[in-house]
Subunit: 358 residues, 2 copies
């Protein structure tokens, strides 16, 4: 079988060019006689790759040396605990609840026994939009999830609080430019497995002065400062994941950078939302103004038809279209690696499905 | 350049057959049209692979359903903190200090503010041997590191205490059979990056009744019970690492299993130690009786000659032979994936180096 069209929510599609490059040098990196997986993270070869990846990411987000880029493990899930452990200082931590992933973050804040406050939520409408809110100027930090994979909602623009902003960007990492200064970002993080490579590497961009808040009672491996001081090499990092992440960064550059990527993402999403909105068959879940460019959650008129849609799509070489079990329905995840051509093929399939099943 | 002979301490050599199989299906797993990296950890395809890997590992170690096999992240380093967090119950935790990795584990026990005791240490002779000791019957747990990468020491046999035994097996994982019942093993773990695949996956085998000791105040992602209940899928696991680990398990089976692997490891180590012991030029660091089958730490008569050795070895296609910065000298890491032929080539090089530089 040739390659399928992959609309999975995560782990998800990786650019074919990236996969093919990794495949070509899988047993012999740069002709050096070893796989990049097989050598020390402290050796020259890996260290150069590692530092280049950091430099490229800092350049994409236009951030300076007041920020540290860390390649960690444990996913967003571990960050939910690490964040209050590291940057809570005894004031109030403010959270905006936009779905399962912020709920999990709030749960860990509670377990950490900190003074946290949920200042806004869209739970009463099943998280179909991003609520309005203002973080307190003097909060220890304000916490948001910029894209909510399950519901298909996304902040059109990030807030710009006076307190440090913490952003879980797991599912829209590297999908658009972000002005870290304008939004007063203190901590910006995400698992790689949606837009940035394979699962098992967590990208954390943290302001060094924020990381310095940590207390000595925090376990050494869970302090950002431990990894800042060691350039993420305090212990063996997920070297192959970092290598793949670096290839993805090169690929983004080849596409013209984050603005060019974002323009394509807008076109892909617009094609799907227009088709859905102009149809009396499909219905989008997320409210206009809060709609994600990464995950389009929608449904046919019935669960039965949703099931038939998923099955027929698979027969036509399109996978990953089943909605999350919490929401049901359908979902097309159209991360950076999903091409406009793939989205076009999906749109044609959707029209044909409506014609034959509507 | 063809493939080098790789004596790196970790990340380290992976069997070429494993690399080549992963390479062949890198963009198209089992002809399904996607990379194994690109699909959901909750989908049928990955789930089957994941469960097969668990079953194979349980079969190698001959363990039953009283143990859970978890694929975690964060390396041994995170385990140093997770272990006291999860299984300390207010008694005394006993540690045996055999080098840097147990020192780090002890440091985290201290940060966790538990009642711990270092009951034996070989620090006064720079960790050149495994000390004698007996764990208290009623200790919360007894902690050892079964192989000490830096110094090249290894427990010839594991202790068999009455208290639950915790084993950091990061650098001799899957190198020999272990009788979990005889040694009363409660927790057995290791990063994959030496004997079991790429960095970024931590194999944890934990007795379920031990894991059940955890308190509600422990962060959810750091509880073993969280991952036991979710079959390691509480959050996205390092899917590609698990895939590679599974291929390594198949490769071990192809070699005849752990006993066959161990027999080869004994021959490889014997060849090196005999050459060293019969020479008046090379000197082994570890004392007989405590010598590692995984890492042979040795030295020439001078730091200058050590440097010349490393350089000339590299020119002859052998990498990773520089000793750890703490110990200096030389080190040949001869994990499962290093062939007898590679060790033979190294032995010949060593004889020739002695002839020309001795």
């Amino acid at each position: 079988m040739s390659r399928v069209l992959n609309f999975s929510a995560g782990p998800s599609a990786i650019p074919l060019a990236v996969l093919e490059r990794a495949q070509a040098e899988f047993t012999n990196y740069h002709g050096l006689g070893f796989s990049i997986m097989e050598v020390s993270h402290r050796g020259k070869v890996f260290e150069e790759l590692h530092n280049n990846a950091i430099a490229k990411l800092k350049s994409f987000y236009n951030i300076g040396d007041d920020y540290a880029v860390l390649f960690l493990q444990g996913g967003a899930t571990l960050q939910f605990a690490q964040i209050p452990m590291n940057i809570y200082t005894g004031g109030v931590a403010e959270y905006v609840n936009t779905g399962v992933w912020t709920q999990k973050a709030i749960k860990e804040a509670k377990i950490q026994n900190i003074n946290y406050k949920v200042i806004a939520s869209s739970e009463d409408t099943k998280f179909d939009h991003i609520p309005n809110f203002n973080f307190s100027d003097d909060a220890d930090y304000g916490y948001i999830c910029s894209n909510n994979t399950i519901y298909g909602t996304q902040y059109a623009t990030l807030p710009s609080p006076k307190c440090p902003l913490v952003v879980d960007s797991s599912s829209d990492l590297l999908s658009r430019e972000i002005d870290f200064k304008a939004h007063n970002i203190g901590l910006f993080y995400g698992g790689a497995q949606k837009n940035a490579g394979p699962a098992g590497i967590t990208i954390v961009i943290v302001k060094k002065d924020l990381a310095a808040r940590v207390k000595d009672s925090v376990p050494t491996p869970l302090r950002y400062t431990t990894q800042i001081e060691a350039n993420s090499l305090a212990n063996t990092p997920p070297t192959f994941g970092i290598y793949m992440f670096d290839l993805v960064l090169d690929w983004i550059k080849d596409q013209g950078g984050l603005n060019a990527i974002n323009a394509v993402n807008e076109q892909k999403a617009a094609a799907l939302y227009e088709l859905i909105d102009n149809s009396d068959f499909y219905k989008a879940f997320a409210k206009p103004g809060s709609r994600s460019l990464m995950n389009v959650s929608f449904a046919t008129p019935s669960a039965e038809l949703d099931g038939a849609f998923v099955k027929l799509a698979e027969q036509n070489g399109m996978i990953g279209l089943k909605g999350h079990r919490i929401l049901g329905g359908l979902r097309a995840s159209i991360y950076n690696a999903v091409t406009q051509q793939s989205v076009q093929t999906l749109c044609e399939f959707m029209k044909e499905f409506q014609r034959t099943h509507g």
